[in-house]
């Protein structure tokens, strides 16, 4: 093949390799093509397991998101608005999940890791201490097939 075709082929193979590495379970079929580019991975239809969930070990302990300062915890940006997050939501590092107010200063509470909120530990408007757990989350380390 020509040098250009070679370059394209390498890129496609590299891309397939990256997808493979990110996948939880190996696919039953992998196709890589160079001309007009293509990568395909296939998993058995019978398995409902998604790559992301398979990567998460069932025994992994919940992580906690904790208060960054002492103050009053709020679920939502302001009274009456929907909360930043709810149980089941996927969060990314840096994503705001709440507010702690200290002396009229609003400090955002941000997720420090990727995962799914699986518990809300503190009621809206509750005073909290520095480092107090606010949420539990199930860490996710694999690529999620669907953006939340």
């Amino acid at each position: 093949m020509s040098e250009e075709e070679r370059g394209l082929f390498d890129a496609v193979v590299r891309g397939a390799g990256e997808l493979l590495a990110a996948a939880g379970t190996p696919p039953t079929r992998l196709l890589a093509r160079a001309g007009e580019v293509s990568v395909e991975l296939e998993w058995p239809a019978a398995s409902r397991e998604l790559p992301g969930e398979a990567r998460t070990t069932p025994a992994s302990a919940s992580a906690e998101l904790c208060a960054p300062i002492v103050g009053v915890f709020y679920h939502a940006p302001s009274p009456g608005e929907p909360p930043f997050v709810a149980v089941g939501d996927l969060v990314r590092p840096g994503q705001q999940v709440g507010i702690v107010e200290a002396m009229k200063t609003m400090i955002p509470v941000e997720a420090d890791q990727r995962g799914r909120i699986d518990g809300v530990l503190v009621a809206d408007g509750t005073p909290v201490e520095y480092g107090e757990p606010l949420f539990t989350l199930e860490p996710a380390t694999a690529l999620e097939p669907l953006a939340s």
Binding site: I69, A102, P127, Y130
Partner: protein, 453 residues
Amino acid sequence: MFSKVLIANRGEIALRVARTCREMGLSTVAAYSTEDTGTPAVAFADETVRIGPAAANRSYRNAAALLEAALRTGASAIHPGYGFLSEDADFAEACEENGITFIGPPAPVLATLSDKIAARTAMAEAGLPLLPGSIEPVADAHAAHALADSIGYPVIIKATAGGGGKGMRIVTDRAGLVPAYRAARSSALALFGSGQVYIERYLAEARHVEVQVLCDAHRTALHLGERDCTVQRRHQKLIEETPAPRLPRATAEAMCTAAVRGALAVGYRGAGTFEFLVDRDDRFYFMEVNPRIQVEHPVTEMVTGIDLVREQINIAAGRALPFAQADVAPHGVAIECRVNAEDPARDFAPTPGVVETVQLPAGPFTRVDTYVGPGSRVSAAYDSLVAKVVVWGPDRPQALARMRRALGEVRLAGPGMRTTAGFLADVLAAPAFVAAEHTTALIGTDGPDDGID
């Protein structure tokens, strides 16, 4: 009277304050950092609030966190202890703005006294004797030279926003002035947030004598005698005693009277300490005011029978002092030794870590203020003071003998842990100290103390 007091401090002073609060029937809240989880003050207090991580600026110097903790727990007063925010006028003001009583002087008085030049000026106006020195911050190196020439060498350069003996530079001749001036400015900025400095005549061999005052909100100001804090290493006090030995009583009286005059002149309120230097001819000169409770306050308590923290709280609650000057009758001699977790053999390098063995003295007229027990951790994040051993005796020889006995009982051991207990015992045995002929030069000062040991 307050029903609940928040203690914005840690270690030995937090526990000491909490104990008096408990005696007075006041509820206590311990505000603490993650580093102090499980420490005695936290265990002792009725309520606790974890306010931040180890770093002081995010915990014990975090005004918003402390105020938040006070408001959420319903504390109506805050005791700031010593260090941290105890001399911070902004914090005192913020307390008042939020309806919380700051146990200490009013914010404007704090502002004046924590600016060392403003304090000097105020005391000069009140007629207190001062060493030759600046009446304004030093503008530049040129002004520093002019000033030092007029004062006469040796001189000492200090931070106007400073205190606690930190960041100062001694200059013995003209050649050393500009480098010292520049270094002092950098230290001042790093330590206290302001690079402003002032210059004073330096007394190489002097005695450091301070006066304890109490002032209520009803214009009553009185003194509780003086303390001699001459034994210092790099301007950090190690041993304190009262009364000042070998100080003519007339001089001590004059100093105490001067301190009361100075306190009234600035509208002082609460417990405070006026620091002086005394030269070889028993002349005294005003240095600075410490507008807070001091580490060495127990020696005054031992000879007067007065609980200084109790008086601070009563004064802050608006009560009149329950005694007059004539009722204050110090009796006997009290000495305090500060035992630090430091290794004297390695230039007093701090030795933080776990203290596994803790044996501290007790017995006749012996008091120990500490925060450690077996298994306690001396944190690297804070100062190295571990225990204050305080004794009383009817006269100085007996007090010295009692302190030797008490220090001999001290056992503090852990992995890598060293303490200054043995070093202090050596100082106590030094002929100059026993004869009370020692000066601030007793322990060789090797250079500036920037608070980094």
